[in-house]
Amino acid sequence: MVKLVVGGALIFFSSITFAVETSLKGILDVHAYHVNNTSDAYSYLKGDYGKFRFDTGTGFALAQLGIRYELEWQNNFSATIVGNAFADRGNNEIGITEAFVRYKGLPSQNGWRFQSKLGVFYPSISLENVATAWSTPYTLTSSSLNNWIGEELRHTGVNFSIEKLGKASKSSHSFSADLSLFQNNDTAGTMLTWHGWTMGSRQALLHEKLVVQDFPARDNLLAEQAAKSDPFIEIDHRWGAHIATSWRIENKLKLNLGYYDNMAEEGLVEHGQYTWATDFIHAGLKYKLTKQWELISQYMKGDTAMKSLTGIDVVKAEYDNMFLMMRYQRLAHHVAMRFEHFNVDDQDETIGDNNNENGNGVTLSYRYQLSKKQFILSEFNWLRSERPSRSYELQPVDLVERQYQLAYRLYF
């Protein structure tokens, strides 16, 4: 699908003789880190129950090398490809995270503007990951809510967006409504259920497969499940839908509300990949309290479920997540404080697959701007989570994790 979309776009544009402009933007983010937790658990990325991307211990990592390459035509069409590389002690990956063609029309006299995207792109949910290559400029780690979006959600399809810009009628209020129809997201919810919420700065690449935790049900009822989950696969050939709306008041307030449903048909499995019916509502608020203080908050609540080929409800879970961030900026200094709370509520009867979870996290982050595009950041994350499935690995159910990071970041 990705190749088809990008290939089709290139053929389309090669036949157009408009002047084309190219632009290259990127982010380089290198971290020194120290992680400790009360059970020496490895990172969720290695199939364990640690909630950070880095394993216990001290190390250096290429946290992100992100590149965004864009071709822009004079007729309001553009083509964008975003690549990312991550390197940390044996967890090294390089690949594509997004590739799409976009049309962005001019506003009408009354302030109506139409936009459309075709390809693979992030759903409009995160209020943190607003910078180059889906990085967050506020902290070194995304909240657990948005870290899940980076891991398991990507729209492969088409997006239509209609906006009403208030300034055309000298109003402070602007509105937008956004509809995406997508495929390749039939397994969304797998990792959220089986390793729970996680906090970090690692995005899944389009080619990447994610290590599934080892739990007893995988030896019997879930024996069919592959060792790695493919987050961007189409199994049931049904379209999912995502609606996102927003309300803005100038540069003071942004309020988002949306609903995601991958519309998966339960009970299908292909190469060890099951269909997961996943839906959720999401809300987000970005509010500038004063020139220096801003509040960012997001909330999400939803369900996920998968059935065996024989129609048994193998996994059924409800989940919710909320974070609240206050950030303060003055001259070159920026401080962010984030509090988050998350839950997964297991509602099935499957033995050896307890997916209950609840946890709280605190993040303190300080950023210093060295020059226009260079930053030094330091950050402390504290995360406490209760997860009964840890007992399958003979780890304590109740885990406290701490992460210290020092980073150099360059946007180019």
Partner: protein, 242 residues
């Protein structure tokens, strides 16, 4: 602002008996003949306008223009392009005024591309302007408000008022503007500001200018609405819009 017209307005040559004589010479020549009917004498007049807010403080950057009620035939045209910069992701200046037939010369002083547009009325244009770039529009032919924006940075907005008279400008920090009118007579004075919350954002007043020096003070019917802050919600303009 009136400097660019000063010369034209005072010289304002006309033709009498195949000889071109200056406007002042003509005035002196006519003075003897029509001494008793001074209304026929075309005297230059300096008109000073003071605009104040309802609370009495100076109202700055109020676009003011004066149009002779008998029409503008024969009055000078200004064909020097009007400069509008893009600086710190803002239109600089936020408000400008120009005469019908002038072009706008946009100069991008930022290190990023802007996508400037005007999508209302007859004076429409749209182009991308690269960092350090410069683009001049076609002459604008319709006397009306031009609301400009940037399709990349939605918070950017700027206004130009195109007027059908050579006598225009903006009030200074003291809320003052001076017009050098070539002759006494009847004029229509208009004040305009995009944040003046009245019909068409303007107020009008008829003036009968009979003296060489005229001072007029006008109080706005209400305070201006706040000008929207020309800043995005994010800290850095180089961030992508997700």
């Amino acid at each position: 602002m009136t400097n660019q017209f000063e010369e034209t307005m005072y010289i304002d040559e006309i033709s009498i008996n195949n000889k071109r004589v200056s406007f002042i010479t003509k005035c002196v020549a006519l003075l003897g003949t029509f001494l008793s009917t001074s209304s026929y004498c075309v005297n230059a007049s300096e008109l000073t306008l003071n605009v104040v807010t309802p609370s009495g403080s100076p109202a700055t950057d109020i676009v003011s223009f004066i149009r002779p009620t008998k029409g503008i035939n024969g009055l000078p045209l200004n064909d020097v392009p009007l400069y509008i910069g893009q600086q710190d992701k803002k239109f600089a200046p936020y408000i400008t005024v120009m005469q019908k037939g002038q072009s706008i010369n946009f100069v991008n002083h930022d290190d990023i591309t802007h996508h400037i547009y005007s999508v209302s009325g007859e004076n429409r244009f749209e182009f991308k302007i690269k960092a350090g770039g410069e683009i001049t529009t076609q002459p604008l032919q319709s006397a009306e408000e031009v609301a400009m924006g940037c399709n990349i940075h939605d918070w950017m907005s700027g206004y130009v008022l195109v007027v059908d008279t050579p006598y225009f400008g903006k009030t200074n920090e003291d809320g003052q503007i001076t017009f050098d009118l070539p002759e006494t007579g009847e004029y229509e004075l208009s004040l305009w500001h995009p944040q003046l919350d009245v019909t068409n954002n303007r107020i009008k007043q008829l003036l009968n200018v009979t003296q060489a020096n005229v001072n007029i003070s006008i109080s706005l019917p209400q305070n201006l609405l706040p000008i929207p802050e020309q800043v995005g919600q994010e800290d850095f303009d180089f961030l992508d819009e997700y």
